[in-house]
């Protein structure tokens, strides 16, 4: 399980890439990946290309990110979901809260 | 012929024991005499082996290297069950004990 974050190419957003299992054990690292980044990102992208598994605590963490990013006003994208991850996000209807690609 | 005693070991031992060094030497000698009796009177191979082994260990601890070696020979003979050579080995042990005893006492009083 590895979490990396870096500024987006245009410098205004933050991209967080998650590798391995996105579950309860990722909690601390995930928060740290967006909490002290030295600038105020205007949008966030969560890249799940290398994520193998997502559970309900991951959903909770995404909600925390969204809350940090401004709640209803937040712009949070979730990209590169594989079929399993997609399924979990669909059942929870998270596309009502996130831009999922 | 090599020295009967390991000086380096004894130097360290005397330093460790301090004032009790002389007591240690006498204890060893008393123990050793008992072991010699056991060895001489042993009628069963197993008993002989054990006593020879014990004396070997104690001798090694006191730096009496030649005595320890002689005990080792006797111990091997007892383990293998060989009869031949046993009287000679036993005599050797007794001889080396006497030498070691005297050398240790001299060392202790030096």
């Amino acid at each position: 399980m590895g979490i990396r974050s870096e500024a987006s190419p245009d410098g205004k957003g933050l991209t967080i890439a998650i590798a391995g299992r996105f579950d309860f054990s990722a909690h601390k690292d995930f928060r740290q990946s967006y909490e002290d980044v030295g600038f105020e990102p205007s949008h966030f992208t969560v890249d799940l290309r290398e994520a193998t598994y997502l559970d309900s605590s991951a959903l909770g963490m995404l909600l925390l990110l969204r809350d940090h990013a401004g709640g209803d006003a937040a712009e949070v994208r979730i990209v590169n979901c594989n079929a399993d991850v997609r399924k979990i996000l669909t059942i929870s209807n998270f596309e009502q809260l996130f831009d999922i690609r | 012929m090599s020295e009967p005693l390991d000086d380096a070991l004894l130097t360290e031992l005397r330093e460790v024991m301090g004032g009790a060094f002389a007591t240690l030497v006498e204890t060893f000698i008393a123990d050793g005499e008992r072991r010699l009796d056991e060895v001489a009177c042993a009628s069963v191979d197993d008993a002989l082996r054990r006593s020879a082994h014990a004396l070997k260990g104690a001798s090694a601890n006191l730096g009496a290297v030649r005595l320890a070696a002689a005990c080792g020979v006797l111990e091997s003979l007892a383990r293998s069950g060989e009869r031949e050579g046993r009287p000679a080995a036993l005599a050797r042990v007794q001889a080396e004990f006497t030498v070691a005893r005297d050398a240790l006492r001299r060392y202790a009083s030096a």
């Binding site: 605590s57 909600l63 809350d67 059942i91 998270f94 | 024991m17 007591t23 204890t27 008393a30």
Partner: protein, 566 residues
């Protein structure tokens, strides 16, 4: 520098004992000596040393046996044993370690080495002792946690109780401890006899999960009893959970409202796996999760839209939490939603519950635990089969308000957003003698109001509801009509007259709509379509003592008569 410890020196050679004691004492430690195996064990028991120097070859009880017994005596404590040996063969030395020795020291004894070994083994001993303390502390905390959970569970049980889960038309599987996995199953009858069932799965485990379930259960049971619609209950549950749960915590849920009179079920699925509609004729329908779980968004964004299905007698709704779908076999393969729906497609409705249960348990194999499965099935049946809802039968000698009247009128803004029925029901139930007929009264109030609003004010055609897809269309039309409503009214005029012995309650509902041809409808036979759908004339006739239509049909009065036993 190691702290002072007590060392047991066991050797049958006096020379060796003296030598070792001196070396050990020189390091500042306390020494106890033993001359043979038996003595060693006695001294060990009496003096509790922290380290044992043990001669491997002693007469009588040999060193290896002594080592084994010392380890036994030490039980969970770690007391290191250093074998003293002049054995040189590798396998003999290895034997020392196998027998329970932690190290060995060869003759001639090297002081430096012995000192180092004492320090190293003492370090290990202290680490072991620390681990034991931590383990004991953990065990203590764990025991406390278990007690707290038991207390939480008993509080939860008294709030949640099982409602009507034991009704004849419900089959369910849920562990009594499921609450600590976040699973909750609530079931209750509302005053008009509808059966509401809520299946919930909270994120988190242990107390985090069970805490959220308490307000959920209170709201569900309280509002059901007062006659609120399932959508209102879900809205309030969502509002409460959104308010009290920290961000990131939520409750996936499926709720159903079974109406035994109309043979319909309304379903709301927010975040749980598909619920299934199992029909007696073999057809299978899936009710997907279309909503965010409860507690995620605030009231403004919450969507209480339900899906409505018409069910025949014997048709069922099957719901489960993800414990079923995610149940794994020994290789880690999931049971999966596809397997579940394939299984249901080829199983008859009445056997589905058992078949699913068996299939999931056998899939999980050796590690199968029924405790992890939460599964519930509700069957459509006649109300007689499940009995009337228990009414509040308070026989109080107080007469309560006997002669009173009230007028309550709703304008368009109120009609769009507010359900007046629980409030009106509450007022009516203040009359003790009416309580035993609470169910009928509520059903009549509901029927009169929905006629007045849907068919009167909103001018919706009731015939739409006769087909399965018709429901969706009907409710869509209704939603649009409500949104565009800018005029109209529904007025309740309720009168109660009574003395100590008899009384009558009149509920008159007038709406601003065009009415309907009630005369013709009355004259038409029981199978006249105007009697069967919309306006619920048949139902009203059955439940009230008298129903009267006035004017152009937008004015209806239901009469209840009652008498008190002397």
């Amino acid at each position: 520098m190691t702290a002072t410890i007590r060392v047991l020196v066991a050797d049958d050679s006096q020379t060796d004992r003296l030598l070792l004691s001196s070396i050990v004492a020189r390091e500042g430690h306390e020494v106890v000596t033993a001359v043979d195996g038996v003595d060693a064990l006695e001294k060990f028991t009496a003096c509790n040393p922290q380290l044992v120097l043990l001669d491997a070859l002693m007469p009588g009880l040999d060193g290896f046996e002594v080592a084994r017994r010392i380890k036994d005596l030490a039980r969970e404590d770690f007391v290191p044993i250093i074998f003293l040996t002049s054995l040189t063969e590798a396998d003999e030395l290895a034997r020392c370690l196998v027998a329970g020795g932690d190290d060995f020291l060869s003759k001639p004894y090297n002081t430096v080495i012995l000192r180092a070994k004492i320090i190293a083994l003492e370090r290990m001993r202290q680490m072991h002792a620390t681990l034991q303390l931590q383990r004991d502390e953990i065990a203590l905390h764990h025991a406390r946690l278990v007690r707290e959970q038991e207390a939480a569970k008993s509080i939860f049980d008294s709030v949640a109780h099982s409602g009507c889960l034991d009704a004849d038309n419900i089959r369910h599987l849920i562990s009594p401890l499921a609450i600590f996995n976040g699973d909750v199953l609530l079931a209750a009858r509302n005053p008009s006899g509808n059966m509401y069932v809520l299946l919930g799965d909270f994120t988190g485990h242990g107390l985090t999960a069970s805490i959220g379930a308490m307000p959920l259960a209170e709201i569900f049971y309280g509002m059901t009893q007062k006659g609120f619609l399932i959508g209102d209950i879900l809205r309030e549950c969502n509002r409460k959970l959104n308010e009290i749960l920290p961000v990131g915590y939520f409750c996936c849920a499926t709720a159903v409202d079974f109406n035994f009179w109309k043979r319909t079920v309304e379903v709301w699925n927010g975040g749980l796996p598909d619920a299934y509609v199992l029909r007696g004729d073999g057809r299978l329908g899936a009710v997907r999760s279309r909503h965010l779980p409860l507690g995620v968004v605030g009231p403004a964004r919450f969507d209480a839209t339900v899906e409505t299905y018409e069910l025949e007698h014997g048709d069922r709704i099957l719901m489960c939490t993800d414990g079923v779908v995610e149940s794994r076999d020994e290789q880690g393969g999931m049971f999966g939603a596809e397997r579940l729906s394939a299984l249901l497609a080829r199983t008859s409705a009445e056997h589905a519950f058992e078949v699913v249960r068996e299939a999931v348990l056998s899939h999980a194999g050796e590690s199968a635990r029924e405790d992890d499965l939460t599964l519930v099935e509700i069957a459509m049946c006649d109300e007689q089969e499940v009995g009337a809802p228990a009414s509040r039968n308070e026989t109080s000698s107080a007469l309560g308000p006997l002669d009173w009247s009230m007028t309550y009128e709703l304008g368009p803004v109120s009609m769009r957003a507010f359900n007046p029925l629980p409030l009106l029901q509450h007022v009516l139930m203040e009359v003790p003698s009416l309580r035993s007929r609470g169910g009928e009264i509520f059903t009549v109030l509901s029927e009169l109001y929905s006629n007045a609003l849907d068919h009167g004010v909103l001018r919706l055609e009731s015939t739409q509801k006769s087909s399965a897809s018709g429901f969706a269309a009907f409710y869509a039309d209704r939603g649009r009509a409500l949104e565009h409503l800018d005029g109209g009214f529904v007025r309740f005029e309720i009168t109660s007259r009574a003395n100590e012995r008899t009384g009558e309650l009149r509920i008159r509902v007038i709406d601003s709509g065009v009415g309907f041809d009630h005369v013709a409808a009355r004259e038409g036979g029981p199978s006249d379509p105007r009697r069967l759908h919309g306006r619920g004339m048949r139902l009203l006739d059955r439940l009230c003592d008298q129903v009267t239509y006035f004017g152009r049909g937008n004015d209806v009065e239901a009469l209840f008569r009652w008498s008190r036993p002397s």
